[in-house]
Each structure stands twice: as structure tokens, then as C-alpha cells.
Symmetry: C2
Subunit: 408 residues, 2 copies
């Protein structure tokens, strides 16, 4: 009896094989990782002990006997955070805990998008949101951004043009508070204009606030879009940035008719229970202090990265000024196509996000790139940016000189 | 500016809204819940403290910096368990941790099944496996069972008939060790016949061993099918039954070409990290003792349920004799359609699984039902079975009399 390889039986559209995981590169500026030094270890250990002792027998039941929306104390925490910090009227029953915010994106696409539909996404945005919309069969139209976020004048023109073609886009996906990748915060007047356009054209807003907890200390954010126009907005958020991405905890908030549909789409048998319990226990009493410490640490790392980029690239690079978060968005001269730098940079131990992967229309961001600064140490940031500048110079002649070279 | 309800924008095939969760019924005999009294609370608390202190800073990174296959110590534990207990040669790199075994089922369907394909499933089987195969567009053919599991003579006839029609089924889905719902264990000679048929007809085996850790003390199981014919078998398992379902931990084992495709399909950004860490830490030193305690407790509850069923239903009911697990499969007289009992039973506080939901062809199981016994206490089992017998008698006249009635 001879065996056979099951992959000879694959469906025609099966995805390609994943490569073996080879570990992180030495200078890892990609992925939404957080700062290992800022994980509140003692607090999490104490929280795990307390919450398991009190509520641990619930682990014997699916969803901790509390239904598919998630662990009730975690939903209560999210509701209080949304109410207290983002202006969203919410109780525990208005919240769905998701297995990461990516699950929220999948569910919204599942509910709203059919092949051939149109969705609107900020011209530079989270790669996962663009990819998932396209996997759902949507055509994606880019919304122009400036340093404050969506240009609502341009949005109005796009919606008017779509209406003239008989098209009602299925949603406007926006990251209004610490936009990914530009780090901007949409001002209140534009938020008001945005929800007014949503109402006028009958296009729901899909608001992603993954980074909204990570504001620098001198920064305030206006209320969430969902606070301004609850029925028109599906709001998602995450604990990946405020606590830790390995936990796979996100949340969604929407009016009940929509939320009830979202719950019906959550087909994973629940979100990991100990993760939910520990996050609920720890954040129920330590959220403000933790966020404060995190913002202090991350803004210091941003300063290190900004200094390193200025030192290594000088005037050859244009950088945005993020108002929170974990990434820096920048642009090299138009003659540089950053896609040509990906492999040489990896060979030098540096991973970065090429702009085209973070853009609705790849060509518009061919000279842009995103560097994440939370994971590497300050020294790794300095060394990695220098290594990247060397690669860039070798490949493109830019930057033409640098402090490093002068000192060598 | 007027708002609007986003559900007016839903895609045509959006699923119906979920109901508000109303809590468990008093006599909850459905769902793969475990026994709250058998959750090893002290052990889990100690494990959480130890593993977070040692490895907790990894939480700052997606997948704990260890790649999409999952937390390495958990993969090492699974590999050792598969090797030591199930005869499957496996190392940590041969294992994929999944977010529950349901994710494993989704991934296998995604990889192998296209609309219009055919799959083979045991005539009575896990509802989630039947449903998910059909959602993938497969036609499902029922494989006859007897008290030992799949009848391989019938399987050969079905494969021959399909071949004559030019059809190669995409997989044979089987739960060979503690079959769900019948509780049987497939003997070695049938396992050998099954993998021989798989090879001869070129049909992969999809082996689900969710319950294989929960054997009664006097029971031994032959090696897993994947041990007998590694390249032909995708093997999945779960921690839901051996530890706790709220954790959402499962695993898959397959030869690398298939496993690499499965990894590519795992699009959730990883499985909950603290759940993985705690399970790895606890089971790395306590698995055998915990499983022993669990089997003792569960077999005692089964005995309570068997006694209650015999007392309340007498000769009106035929029961299978499970060799492990958490459920009892039984059959009322053919004139009873258990679907008519679901609502009256719920009104009396009793939830049970009607046979038609656990069968490929609903009508063949219209008088069957499944009762899970892990969650309820012994008293709840006795009271709930008595309440169910009363409902059954009121609705159908069966059972005709009972010890309860004689005592009233």
C-alpha cells in the first residue's frame, strides 16, 4: 500500500504554502509589536492569580457561560472606556469582544460587502484592511489625506461622482485617531463633516480606533465618529496596542441590529478566555496608569527614531509627525522605489514596510515607507536606521552623504 | 441630518441576527462543556504565574516571536503527546496550534473543498463538521457505523460507487477514537482497512481526535490513523475536552506540504497567547494526573446518567455504551420524532441535542438524541433526565410508565 501526498488533492484556489518561520530580523521595524520592556508583568501575574481564583471554574464552559459577546467584565471595561474616553454611549451588552481587531474587519466585510461592491479607504491605510476588502471582492477607492486626515472636500466629490454612476459604496473605512500610517488625528469639524456626508449619501462609516489609546501626553482627540452618529458607525478597537498583540483581543461596538449580525458571524467558539480574563482584571484598575507609562516610553522611542532618521537621511527624507502610536511614515525622493530596497535591507538585517503595501494605489506610495519603533531598543533603532540608510545609499545613491559617513 | 440603520446596507447573503444570550437552561445537556469541579484551578494559577514570569515579555510580539504555528512549548507538549500516546511521529515543527479544533476544520475545508465536491462523513457525527463541510459547498455522503465505528465494508462499496461515477471524494472525516456521538473506538483491523482504502482510492483521511484523551480507565485505543499512514492523514485535536473549552486551543498535525498550506490559511494573527502559555506550562508536568482525575470524574457522571436514563425510560430507550468522553447517544422508539420535543423540553428547563442535528441524513436519526453529562452535577443529571422523561411522556406517551410515576 502506497501513501500519497494530500496536497495533490488541494482545491484549485488553495493559498500557497507558508514558509518555515525563520525568526525576526535583527532590526525589525515591521508588525504592530509592542515594547517588551513595557509589558506590565507583575500586574498581569497578579491579575491572572486573582481572576482565576475568583472566576476560573467558568473555564469549563464555552464562552465562560456568558454568551458569544465575550467575558462580561471585559465588555464592562470596554464600555466604560468607550464612554469615558471616546464619548460613545455603551454598556456591556453593546460590545462584542473579537479575536483581534482583524476579526472585526473580517466580520464587517462579510456582512456588508459582496463581490463587485465598492468601498472607500484612506489612500494610505492599514494593509490588512485594504487586503481584506479586496479579498471580499470589493473595488477600493482611495480617499485623499492631508496632515489632518481625510480631506472631506475630496470625499464629497468622490461620493457625488459615485452617486452619478449609481454606486453607493458599502463603507468608508477610516482610522481617524492616530491614522495608520500617517499618525494624524482628524479634527472635530472634519469628523462632523464626515458623518454628515455618511448620512447624506447613505454610506456607513467603519471606524478603526486600534491606536487611539496611544496618544502623546500633549495630545487630545475629539470624540469618536461613533459618538457623533451612533447608528451610522461600526466602531472597532484593539488591546494589541494598549496591552499586547499576542493576546488577540479586540472589540466592536455598533447599534444592536448591526451588532447582532456581527455576533452571528463570530464563528470561532469564543475568544481565548484567560486572555480575556487577565486583560479585564488588569485594566479594570490599571488602565490609565499603564497607558500613561506606555505613551511616555513610546514617545521617547519615537524621538530616538526621528533623530536617527534625521541624522542618517538629512534632507533626503520627508517624515510625518505622528501624534501617538508606534510608527513613523516617511517619503524618500520620488526617484526611489522602495520596493527595490526590501530584499537588500533584509539582507542587512532590516525589515521595513514599503509604502505600496500600505496604500490603496501602490504607485502613489512607491517612495514611502513605514518604520515601527515600539519593539526595537533605542540602540537597535539607531543601528537599524543607519543600516537602512547604508542600503538605501548603495542601491539608489540616496541619501548622498550622512553623519555616519563623515565619521567613518 | 438623519442617521440610518447600517443593516439597511447588508449584503444579500448576510446571516440572520443572533438572539440576545439568555443564559444556560437549568438542565444543560448540550455543548461540549466540561465539569467546573474538575478545572485544576490551583495548578492553572501556579502555571500562569510561572510562565508569565519566565516568558511574559514575549506577549509584546505577535505570536510570541515564535511564528504562526504557535507557542513552542505548547507545540512541544502536543508533539510529545502525539508521539507517546497516539503513535504519531511528531516534533514541535510538525504541529500547528489552532484557535479551537473548529479552526482546523475550517482550514481543511478551505484547502480541500470546492463547491460541488463530495466528502464522506460518519452517518452520525459532530454537527459542526457536517455544517462546515456543507457551508464549503460539499455534498456529504453518510458512512454507516456500527458499535465499533465506521463499517469499512460499506466504505469500500461507497468509494467504488463514487469512482464508477468519476467522483473522488475530497476527504473521509472520521472521529475514530471516542466517536461523536456514539462513543465508540475503531479497532486496529478496521483502522488498517480504512487507511488501505484511503490509499487505494486516493482519498485523504481527516482524523478528528477531540475526545481521544478522555478514555475510561479500562479502555485502550489503537494508534491514531495518522500513525498508520502519515502522508494520507490530516489529524486534529483539542484542549477543549482535556482541559477547558473556553481556552480555544486546538492543534493540527500533517506532513509538512499540507501543514504549510494550513499555516497559510490561519489568518487570525495567532491563537490567544496566555491561553497557550498556561496550557503548555500546566500540561508539561500535570497532563497524565489531570487526565486520570478527569476520566474518573466523568465516568462517574456517565454512570449517574445511565442509571437515570434506565430508571426514567426503562426499555423505551436504547443507549450506546461510550468508552470515554462526555456524551451519551440514545434512541427512542421509531414513532418518536425528537424534534417535536426540543421546545417543550426547553420550556421544562432541559436542553438536549436532537439526533437529526448530529446526522448526515437528518431523518435517519429522528428518534436519536445526545445528552452531555460533564457540566451538570449528579443531582442535575437525575432531575434533568426525569424532567425530560416527563416532557417526552406528555408529548408522545413514551415512556409509558416510570419509577417516578409509580412513586408519585
Amino acid at each position: 500500500m502506497d501513501g500519497f501526498d494530500i496536497t495533490t488533492c488541494l482545491a484549485k484556489d488553495a493559498p500557497a504554502a507558508a514558509p518555515r518561520f525563520g525568526g525576526f530580523p535583527p532590526y525589525n521595524f515591521i508588525g504592530g509589536h509592542n515594547d517588551p520592556a513595557l509589558i506590565p508583568l507583575d500586574g498581569l501575574i497578579a491579575a491572572a492569580g486573582a481572576v482565576l481564583a475568583r472566576d476560573g471554574r467558568r473555564l469549563a464552559t464555552y464562552n465562560l457561560s456568558q454568551g458569544p459577546q465575550g467575558y462580561r467584565p471585559l465588555r464592562e471595561f470596554v464600555a466604560a472606556k468607550l464612554s469615558g474616553r471616546r464619548g460613545i454611549a455603551a454598556a456591556a451588552d453593546d460590545v462584542l469582544i473579537t479575536s483581534g481587531s482583524g476579526q472585526g474587519i473580517d466580520i464587517v466585510n462579510r456582512l456588508l460587502v459582496s463581490p463587485g461592491d465598492t468601498v472607500l479607504i484612506e489612500e494610505f491605510s492599514y494593509a490588512g484592511a485594504i487586503t481584506r476588502a479586496r479579498q471580499s471582492g470589493a473595488g477600493v477607492i482611495a480617499l485623499p489625506l492631508d496632515e489632518q486626515g481625510i480631506r472631506t472636500d475630496a470625499l464629497e466629490n468622490i461620493l457625488t461622482a459615485q452617486r452619478a454612476k449609481g454606486v453607493t459604496p458599502k463603507y468608508i473605512y477610516t482610522i481617524p485617531t492616530i491614522q495608520n500610517p500617517t499618525g494624524s488625528i482628524l479634527p472635530l469639524d472634519r469628523r462632523q463633516a464626515l458623518v454628515a456626508l455618511s448620512a447624506r449619501f447613505g454610506v456607513p462609516i467603519f471606524e478603526d480606533e486600534c491606536y487611539a489609546d496611544l496618544l502623546w501626553h500633549d495630545v487630545d482627540a475629539p470624540p469618536a465618529l461613533r459618538a457623533l452618529a451612533p447608528s451610522q458607525v461600526v466602531h472597532i478597537g484593539s488591546f494589541s496596542k494598549s496591552l499586547a498583540p499576542a493576546l488577540r483581543l479586540g472589540y466592536a461596538s455598533a447599534d444592536w441590529p448591526m451588532l447582532a449580525r456581527m455576533i452571528a458571524c463570530k464563528a470561532d467558539g469564543g475568544t481565548g478566555a484567560i486572555d480575556q480574563m487577565v486583560a479585564a482584571e488588569y485594566f479594570s484598575s490599571h488602565f490609565a496608569a499603564h497607558i500613561d507609562r506606555l505613551s511616555t516610553g513610546l514617545s521617547a522611542k519615537l524621538a530616538v527614531m526621528q533623530e536617527a532618521v534625521a541624522r542618517e537621511f538629512g534632507t533626503a527624507i520627508e517624515t510625518w509627525a505622528p501624534r501617538g502610536g508606534i510608527f513613523l511614515w516617511m517619503k524618500l525622493p520620488a526617484e526611489v522605489d522602495v520596493r527595490t530596497l526590501v530584499q537588500p535591507a533584509l539582507a542587512a538585517g532590516v525589515a521595513f514596510n514599503p509604502g505600496p503595501e500600505w496604500a490603496v494605489d501602490a504607485e502613489t506610495a512607491k517612495s514611502h515607507l513605514r518604520l515601527c519603533f515600539a519593539l526595537p531598543t533605542a540602540d537597535e533603532i539607531r543601528e537599524g536606521v543607519a543600516a537602512f540608510a547604508r542600503v538605501c545609499r548603495e542601491q539608489t545613491g540616496i541619501p548622498r552623504q550622512s553623519a555616519n559617513i563623515r565619521h567613518q
